[in-house]
Symmetry: C2
Subunit: 287 residues, 2 copies
C-alpha cells in the first residue's frame, strides 16, 4: 500500500451511492474558496498513525484462532522509537496461543475523543504485520519501552507464560473521521515523527473557541480564501496548523490554516497561534 | 465454551511460572478469612460481558483479509435487547470488504477505566461469531438499536456502500482485570441482564472511599471473615455487592461483600450500601 492523500470522502458522493432524499446530503461539503490558496500542510497518514499510537497504551489485537477465525482482544502495548509496537502476551490467554501458531496480527488503536465529540469523527489507526520475538539490543529496547508504558510490565514480563513480542509493521491505515482517511507504507510509518503538540491540542482548540473566536474568524478570512466567512470554529490543532469549521453566506465548509513553521515543541502551539493571529490582523490592515 | 467460575489467577502461581525473586510475588494474593463466609454473589461472565457492551458504543472488530490474515479496525456498534451487536460497515473500508468474503468476526470492547486506575486491571470483553444481514422484524430492531447508539447512524445506514449486520454471538470471553476472567456461552450471554447500576458504580466507589471509609471497614469485619481488617477500600461496585481491598495484620487481601438483595434500579446502589452499613453496625453491636 502506498501513501494516499487525505481526501474528504463526501467530495465523491457517487462512491457512497447517496439517495437523493437522504439527510446525508445536508452534511457540510467543502465549498470552493473565493480566492485561490496554496494547499496548507497537514499531518501525513504516517504522522497521524505514529501520533495516535504514541499517545495511548491500550489497543485491540486481532489474531487467528486454530480454525483460522479472527479473534479480537484488548491489550496493553508500548511503541519503540521507530513506532514498532511491543506486546507481552500470555499463553494462558487465547491471543497468546494464537500467535504461537500463526504470527500474523493486527493492532487497532483509537485516538482520544474530545468530550462531546462524535467518536465516528475521531482518529483511529489499524496496523497489520507479523509478531517476532526480539533479541539482543532490540529486546532491551523493547523491554525499556514496555516498562515505560505499561504499569504492571514487571509482572507481565517476568511470568514464564508471557512472551515479549514486537509487531513488524507491514500495513498502516489511518482514519481521521468523516471523509478523512489515508493509508501509508511501513517505511513511511517508521520514518515519520510523532506530533509533539498532540497532548495539548484539545485544550488549545477549546481555548481558541471559548476566548478567541474573533481571531479564528480573522484567520479564516485571511488565509483560507473563504473571505466572506461569518463565523469560524476550531475543530483540531496539530503541529502544522488548525482545522476550522466555517459558516459563509454560501454555506458551511471545513477549512484549514497553516502555521508559518511546523511546531517542534509540546508547548509550541500557543506562540504559533499568536503569530498566525498577528499575520491575519496585518493582512486585514493592509487590505 | 462453557461458563467458568471467575478465579484469581495469582492463586495458581505455578501456571504463571513465577521466578522466586520476582516482584510479582509481592502482588496481593487472597488470604483465608478467619471465620467462614458464604461465597458472596458476583456478576457472572455473561452479565459482565452484557454490561460492558451495553455501556459503550465503540469497539474493535477483527475480520479476515482475502489472504486470511487478521485485520483490526475501530468501529461503532449498538446492542439489541438480547445483547446481539449491530454494525453498519462500508465496502469502501477493508473490514466491510472482508466480511463480504468471510462472515467470521470478533468484537472486543474495553470497559471504562476509572481515573488513576491501571487499564490492565479493568474490564474488557471479546465476542466471536459470524455476521448476518438481518431481515424483517430483526432488521427493524437492529436499525432502532443502531440509531439510538450511533450519532451519525442515519448517514451510515443510508449510504449505499454500507451494510447493516448483526453479529451472531458464538463465543464470549470476559477479563475483569488481574486474575479475574471467565468464559461463557452464547445462550447464557443472551439470557443475562445488563447490570443496571454500572453507570453510577464508579461514582459510588469514589464516594465510599472519600466519605465512608469507616463504614467500609465495618462491612469488611462483619461480612468477609477478615475480622482483623485494619483498613478497607472499595474497588468496584455492582448490583450484587462491592469488591474491597483490605489490609490485615496478616497481609493485604481482596474481599467481597454482598447486598441483601440484588439491586434492580440504576439509583439503587445508595440504599443497598446504607442497608449493608446498618447490618454491619448491628452485627458489631451484637458481638
Amino acid at each position: 500500500m502506498t501513501e494516499t492523500t487525505p481526501t474528504y470522502l463526501p467530495r465523491d458522493p457517487a462512491a457512497h451511492q447517496v439517495p437523493s432524499d437522504s439527510p446525508a446530503n445536508d452534511y457540510p461539503m467543502p465549498i470552493n474558496p473565493l480566492s485561490p490558496v496554496d494547499p496548507p500542510r497537514e499531518l501525513s497518514a504516517a504522522e497521524q498513525a505514529r501520533t495516535i499510537l504514541a499517545n495511548a497504551s491500550v489497543g485491540t489485537l486481532a489474531t487467528l484462532t486454530d480454525e483460522g477465525a479472527p479473534w479480537a482482544s484488548v491489550v496493553q502495548y508500548a511503541v519503540m522509537a521507530d513506532g514498532t509496537p511491543v506486546l507481552s502476551l500470555s499463553t494462558l490467554a487465547l491471543h497468546g496461543r494464537n500467535l504461537k501458531a500463526d504470527a500474523r496480527a493486527s493492532l487497532a488503536v483509537a485516538g482520544p475523543v474530545p468530550e462531546g465529540h462524535d467518536p465516528g469523527d475521531s482518529g483511529r489507526v489499524s496496523i497489520a504485520g507479523r509478531v517476532e520475538v526480539p533479541t539482543g539490543e532490540e529486546l532491551a529496547a523493547a523491554e525499556r519501552a514496555y516498562f515505560d508504558a505499561v504499569p504492571m510490565a514487571e509482572v507481565y514480563t517476568e511470568f514464564g507464560d508471557f512472551t515479549l513480542y514486537v509487531l513488524r509493521v507491514e500495513t498502516v491505515r489511518w482514519v481521521g473521521g468523516f471523509g478523512r482517511m489515508a493509508s501509508t507504507n511501513a517505511d513511511k510509518y517508521r520514518a515519520a515523527e510523532v506530533d509533539p503538540t498532540a497532548v495539548g491540542a484539545d485544550y488549545a482548540v477549546r481555548h481558541m473557541n471559548e476566548d478567541h473566536a474573533d481571531a479564528l474568524l480573522l484567520m479564516a478570512r485571511a488565509f483560507t480564501g473563504q473571505t466572506d466567512a461569518t463565523s469560524a470554529k476550531a475543530l483540531r490543532a496539530d503541529r502544522y496548523g488548525m482545522d476550522l469549521g466555517l459558516e459563509t453566506p454560501r454555506g458551511k465548509t471545513p477549512a484549514r490554516v497553516a502555521f508559518t513553521e511546523a511546531v517542534s515543541e509540546p508547548d509550541g502551539l500557543r506562540p504559533a497561534v499568536v503569530d498566525l493571529t498577528k499575520r491575519a490582523r496585518a493582512q486585514v490592515a493592509d487590505s
